[in-house]
């Protein structure tokens, strides 16, 4: 016999299943089962349905990734002003856009754009979708175009791998993608838009926190280095640009440099070892880059 309480619990679980948050559902079903409100088979049923809903949610589209990326960039640009050196910005975009075309994801919804942030801090950030921000402090550490290309290719790799949107809490995205149901009307009510805007804000917060505070995982950083070198080699850059740059940063890190980039990018030494091993395994040789060195010097002067 179904009691009023167990019916209420079942309706509540049904709603939770619909939102697709499997973890929340499991907590709820366990509590309800322990309290004797629902039998074991009902608990298993709701847990299974929640997992199915969560795993079947659609991935974020390129256009949605673009809107998240714009908001991430707008947040970062609230903390750091962009540099107004148009000559430097043009050069950065020439190097960066050529590299992006050589990547596995050359076309994104809004395209790739590169800008220098006017700060001495050392950092480079890839906003989802393809806007890449690099600090003046980072640009000044590059000694030639190969090293600058290595920094940009690494950030392009994060865009290729969609590492930014991966930082968004799964439950948040599941709710955004499914909360309004299959019959959602084309015209949303203000309440629904407010709900989505709130989920959007939370998602942007997740990405910003990862970019500026927590950093990506060690595995993501190593994978981005690998992809960066492949992009560089495809375009004709010397992949040793990455190892030369990493070697100097590892030295700085070893000497006690901290904060900003060094806080979000620990383990520079390990990255250097891995990158050198990749170059050796692929038998990539050093490339003559005098022409580009001269071009770099002209832009820096």
């Amino acid at each position: 016999m179904i009691t009023r309480s167990s019916l209420t619990i079942m309706v509540a679980l049904g709603i939770l299943v619909f939102t697709g948050c499997a973890h929340v559902v499991e907590v709820g079903t366990t509590a309800a089962h322990d309290a004797g409100l629902i039998p074991k088979q009902d608990k298993d049923y709701y847990d299974r349905r929640a997992q199915e809903t969560e795993s079947s949610v659609r991935p974020m589209t390129d256009r949605e990734e673009y809107y998240v990326g714009r908001a991430v960039a707008a947040t970062v640009l609230g903390r750091y002003r962009p540099c107004r050196d148009e000559r430097l910005n043009l050069y950065l975009n020439q190097v960066g856009q050529a590299l992006a075309l050589a990547s596995d994801r050359p076309c994104t919804y809004g395209g790739y754009h590169f800008a220098v942030l006017d700060t001495d801090e050392v950092n480079a950030l890839a906003c989802p979708g393809g806007t890449i921000l690099i600090t003046r402090g980072m640009v000044n550490r590059a000694r030639n175009e190969e090293e600058l290309a290595a920094i940009l290719a690494h950030e392009i790799a994060h865009v290729n791998h969609k590492d930014g949107v991966e930082a968004i809490q799964r439950s948040r995205w599941v709710q955004a993608a499914t909360a309004l149901g299959a019959d959602a009307a084309r015209q949303l009510g203000q309440g629904q838009l407010d709900e989505l805007a709130s989920l959007f804000e939370g998602s942007v917060g997740d990405v910003v926190k990862t970019l500026l505070v927590n950093g990506y995982s060690r595995a993501d950083e190593l994978a981005a280095d690998q992809t960066a070198m492949i992009i560089m080699v495809r375009l004709g850059y010397d992949p040793n640009g990455l190892t030369d740059f990493l070697a100097r940063l590892a030295q700085e890190q070893g000497a006690g440099a901290h904060g900003g980039f060094f806080a979000t990018h620990p383990g520079m030494g390990e990255r250097l070892v891995e990158a050198r091993a990749t170059i050796a395994a692929n038998k990539w040789r050093r490339v003559d880059h005098q022409v580009r060195d001269e071009r770099f010097a002209a832009y820096r002067s």
Binding site: E64, A73, A74, N93
Partner: protein, 158 residues
């Protein structure tokens, strides 16, 4: 009699090929169909987001497509495959939105969501984002930059 059979066979082949014609949807704000399967080849036509293109052939990462009577090459990352088939007769009246888009309407992060978010957060530096998104290098400039730096042409047919 024999002539009629040929006409019938030809009609069947035509119908079969029409039915098999795959279509792809543009997923970038603006996608360029080019004369050759290279980013630095001249553009044929620019196509806005959401338009359907008829896929003719594929070579490496490039698709030969047809759009409103224009044929050319587009990079695979600029489009997504559609499950629905597209008759050439429909190409000129290609729908603005595809079926999956209609199904998704009102869900996820749409321009309306950004608008609502911006209204609630007027301090956000969207003006600077728009300025940075305005940094574009034309393919002609980029081609020269690549050549001058003794680099290889990116994104050629693989």
């Amino acid at each position: 009699m024999r002539g009629k059979c040929w006409i019938l066979a030809a009609a069947l082949v035509l119908v079969a090929s029409v039915a098999m014609a795959a279509s792809v949807k543009v997923i970038t704000q603006q996608a360029v169909i080019r004369t050759d399967k290279r980013f630095f080849s001249p553009p044929v036509v620019t196509v806005p987001y959401g338009q359907l293109l008829q896929e003719l052939t594929r070579e490496g990462d490039w698709l030969r497509v047809q759009y409103r009577g224009n044929q050319g090459w587009i990079h695979v990352s600029a489009v997504e495959e559609q499950k629905v088939n597209l008759s050439p007769l429909m190409t000129s009246k290609a729908k603005e939105t595809s079926q999956d888009e209609v199904a998704l309407a009102g869900k996820g992060f749409t321009p309306e969501v950004e608008k609502t978010f911006r209204a609630k957060n007027p301090q956000m530096k969207y003006d600077l984002v728009d300025r940075i998104e305005g940094y574009r290098v034309s393919m002609e400039e980029l081609h020269l930059f690549v050549q001058d730096g003794w680099l290889r042409e990116p994104g050629g047919a693989s």
